[in-house]
């Protein structure tokens, strides 16, 4: 069963301990200056944003059908059965298709490096495989970020909305978006106000389907198109041969 993170913005106090724990886990620099940065970058995989006393966290959504994994020409991204979408840096050629393809604009790049890597939250895969929580969930003092089985977390999120309907927008962001994600978000605000793409805009269709519809036709297209091209070639050159043979015959005939 796939693991997931439930982030409940109404429980978040904006302490940014998840940012620090994430940096430590991924061996990234973290100080007051980094803490003050309100955007994700190659050295900040997750960010807690503040707006009108309300907080909102951003991180890789770990899609059930990740676009990054489907577009990568060398398969440097893949979805693990435990849930995390992980990155194999040694495969990466640096085409950055993952960055343009991701609907949540999560992959970031080491623009200043001479051997640059794509950087994003990978949901602490070593910890998850070992049966532990992610670093951000473990350190969260209020339980705003909760780690667990995706199905259980969905049930819990639905229960929270049911028990406290005035506290929440009546939806779980990530339940159906782009075919479902392993990061689920509850909030009293519109997540769109914090830079998340609107549900209506990204839709419920898994991203890989958009290119898959074309790619799946290619194995059939190759033999059919080769035959058509070969046929055209044969016909147009056969006509020439026939014309030549006829001319020859005519010549022979008139000679006789």
């Amino acid at each position: 069963m796939s693991k997931a993170l439930l982030y409940d913005a109404t429980m978040c106090i904006g302490c940014k301990q998840c940012e620090g724990a994430c940096a430590q886990q991924n061996k990234l620099p973290y100080d007051d200056k980094v803490a003050a940065e309100s955007v994700q970058s190659e050295h900040k995989y997750t960010v807690v944003m503040t707006k009108d006393d309300k907080f909102m966290r951003r991180l890789c959504m770990h899609c059930e059908h990740p676009a990054c994994a489907s577009v990568c020409p060398v398969g440097a991204f893949h979805k693990t059965k435990e849930g995390p979408v992980v990155y194999d840096v040694w495969k990466c050629i640096g085409c950055r298709y993952c960055m343009v393809a991701c609907a949540f604009a999560q992959p970031k790049y080491e623009w200043g490096s001479l051997n640059p890597r794509v950087r994003k939250c990978v949901m602490c895969p070593d910890r998850v495989v070992a049966g532990k929580q992610t670093a951000c969930a473990e350190i969260c003092p209020t339980g705003a970020t909760k780690f667990g089985d995706r199905d259980d977390l969905i049930k819990e999120a639905q229960a929270r909305i049911r028990d406290n309907p005035s506290n929440y927008q009546p939806r779980i962001y990530g339940l159906h978006e782009v075919g479902g994600t392993c990061v689920l978000i509850l909030s009293s605000m519109n997540v769109e106000d914090y830079g998340y793409p609107a549900s209506a805009k990204i839709g419920d269709t898994p991203m890989p389907e958009y290119t898959g519809r074309v790619m799946e036709k290619i194995p059939d297209f190759i033999p059919v198109w080769s035959l058509v091209l070969g046929g055209i070639y044969w016909i147009s050159h056969r006509r020439e041969e026939v014309a030549e043979a006829e001319a020859e015959e005519k010549k022979n005939g008139s000679a006789r």
Binding site: P73, I93, Y109, W111, P208, Y210, T211, R213, M215, Y233
Partner: protein, 393 residues
């Protein structure tokens, strides 16, 4: 004439010097230092122009080879060699451009071993690799002929039908797949340019531009190398270009019509201005021009119409790859001068290599043959292309 030559040489040297400086910055200070690309705009001018437009500009190779060898249109024979040369150089330079843009170009061979068949990029990469090899063999007879090596030419002749069909198959696949690359960004790319029809539009525009580029380079090399201009060939290409433009225009109209965007595209907006520019350059001007028989029969008219077509479709691809993302990102992307200088350097290398190839290899038919063809149009094509003329038979 001599002063003009020196002037262009100086321009070339300046472009190369600036390009080399940018190359140094790219490989010793990284992509961030050399370009204005960032996390919001991970793909910039090098993908938009060098890759998307570069492959489109090199489409003349498969268009002309297809017309001459597949459909047996003998009268276009004399432009096969320059078209194949342009395509071969175009693809080589595309790969050079890729080495600048890829973050880790030294791992470019990874896609041969870590294959991901779901990736459009993987498909484009494999097709481009294979097609460049095909183009190499289509181009090789020029070199072999130069050194009078007849035996290997015979071998190539024997497999020529396979090469031709393979070349067209691979071109169909990757020319359209360059459009498919953008199918996965429905929420990012502006609706003026995001359409499920992208692969068809990219393939259609490749054919139009392939024809236009052949007219352009024939006229251009006639001017530059003082060659006799073969007007009947250009007139044929011009007619084909007009048809290709109408088909493209119809496809675009159908697309906007079915997606109910006709009302939106006429309303002024940032994107609409760029769309109007694109549609005017790619369709309105060249279609209007070519609709006049007088223009279709004049070398200068055809030359101008082909330039407008090329500029129009370049605008189209830059709109798909750059303009179309600006509203989503929320700010503009303007390439850094070092990005421009790398692109310019690659274009300059293309011109220079074309000149060198024409100078040392039998790319264009000998002048007396051209005159002969002028007198006896049917015999000319056979005389002018002794090797490839019979390659497919």
């Amino acid at each position: 004439m001599k002063i003009k030559l020196t002037f262009w040489k100086i321009v070339f040297l300046v472009i190369m010097a600036m390009g080399l400086y940018s190359t140094f910055v790219r490989y010793f200070h990284g992509l961030g230092a050399v370009s204005n690309m960032n996390d919001q705009f991970p793909w910039g001018l090098w993908i938009g122009f060098d890759c998307l437009c570069g492959v489109m500009l090199a489409a003349g190779g498969f268009c002309i080879v297809g017309a001459v060898y597949l459909f047996n249109v003998e009268r276009l024979h004399s432009v096969v060699r320059p078209a194949v040369l342009t395509a071969f150089l175009g693809y080589l330079l595309f790969i050079v451009g890729l080495l600048f843009d890829l973050g880790r170009p030294w791992y470019i061979w990874h896609q041969l071993i870590y294959m991901n068949p779901h990736s459009v990029m993987f498909e484009v990469g494999m097709c481009v690799m294979a097609y460049t090899t095909v183009l190499f063999f289509e181009f090789l007879p020029n070199v072999l002929e130069r050194f009078h090596l007849t035996t290997p030419i015979k071998w190539i002749k024997r497999v020529y039908p396979v090469l031709i069909i393979l070349g067209i198959l691979l071109s169909t696949l990757h020319q359209s797949s360059l459009g498919s690359l953008y199918l996965i960004m429905p929420s990012k790319l502006h609706p003026f340019w995001y359409t499920p029809a992208l692969p068809f539009l990219f393939f259609g525009s490749a054919i139009a531009v392939g024809l236009a580029m052949t007219i352009f380079e024939s006229t251009q090399s006639a001017k530059a190398f003082g060659r006799h201009l073969e007007l009947p060939v250009l007139v044929n290409l011009g007619g084909a270009l007009l048809v290709a433009l109408w088909v493209n225009a119809l496809l675009r109209f159908e697309d906007y019509f079915h997606r109910g965007l006709l009302g939106q595209i006429v309303k002024p907006s940032y994107e609409a201005y760029f769309l109007w520019l694109e549609l005017t350059l790619a369709f309105v001007i060249p279609i209007t021009m070519l609709s006049f028989k007088k223009v279709r029969l004049s070398p200068n008219g055809l030359y101008l119409a082909s330039i407008f077509t090329v500029l129009g479709f370049i605008t189209n691809r830059l709109n798909v790859s750059l303009t179309g993302f600006e509203t989503y990102v929320g700010h503009h992307y303007v390439p850094k001068w070092t990005e421009f200088s790398v692109t310019l350097m690659i274009i300059a290398m293309g011109f220079a290599l074309f000149g060198v190839a024409v100078k040392y290899l039998p790319i264009f038919p000998e002048e007396e043959h051209a005159v002969q063809r002028h007198l006896r149009p049917e015999a000319g094509s056979v005389v002018s292309t002794p090797v490839l003329g019979h390659a497919g038979d």
